[in-house]
Amino acid sequence: MGMQGNLLDMAIADLIQHNCQDRKTAQLKIEHSGRQAILYFEEGNISHAILGNQMGEDVIYEILKWEEGTFDLETGIKPPRTSITRSWPGLLMEGARRLDEAEHAASLIPSKQNDHEEAHTMVNLNDMLKEMSGEVTGYISASLVGVDGLILASDISNSAEDQEAFGAQMTTLLKLVNASVEKLGAGIVEDNLTTTENAYLLMRLLPDKQYFLILTVNRKTGNLGNMRLITKIYSERFSKAMTL
């Protein structure tokens, strides 16, 4: 049994996610500009991938760049061998990171229009943080931070130096949490909440897993349910704003 389609209708990252989440055993052939990649899915993960002479994770990172082409999915076909052991979310995260790096390198070419668009996005992000603050009970502060530790937007009143240190330390904490949860075999982290004497501190990853929101709320006046709901809503909004 199989399915054919076009990458314009369904991106490779989506194909990977759906087949892994459905825990299919299947073979996926993808054609792009005369090249053919073959992926094998087994028990909720990608276990093998080939592209010409290449094999393994690098094939995934290469084909994630393909925006056009066709695919042919055949279920029930087992992989001939195992060349990939990383989890599918890990592969997609690493693939997204590599794509971001490549785009960032390309964007370093000076462009007045790029600078203007970037400034406009930053203003929007700060505005969105302010808007979010109005919806959070017991609000203290919020920041939007990249997984590289750099703060994109912040509502913290401390000095720039303190903000940077805070962003870097929270990133380290989130990465430690990610690594621990991965070792535990508990899947991808959605959020992390620290409860202290005086406050709740919530970190929530945006859908692309490249950025995360930090929200601090007063322990006495804050509401955990409200915190989690608002950060969930705004993480989607921030994600959309940054791709525009």
Binding site: Q169, K183, E190, D191, T196
Partner: protein
Amino acid sequence: MNKLDQLILKFGSELGADFISTDVVGMEDGLSISGSSIDPNFNTLDASARFSKVMELAARVCSKVGMGKVEDNLTTSEKAYIIARFIGDGSYYWVVAVTRNATLGSVRMLMNEYAVQLASILPH
């Protein structure tokens, strides 16, 4: 079976079907001194040491920004809730993993109850 192991087992059984695993870990060495797990896919021993670093770093960061002493840390992942909290004077921490079906409020309430008992029998 010692008192600590008995208490840990009792805690796990009170949680019922939502229980996945639990460990009591020394903060100094990151080693588990008692634990229980019903899911063989959960690699708790390895993760215990890492979570001790999580608690250590969380405590340091929160202290630096004036948020006070850390009480607990809750991670939500695809498959589980993982709750870690310091026990007694903070020389141990206790980590509990439950399924996403668990009612968090009930789990935390039960942990509060058992944390007092754990603190009384752990060596200091």
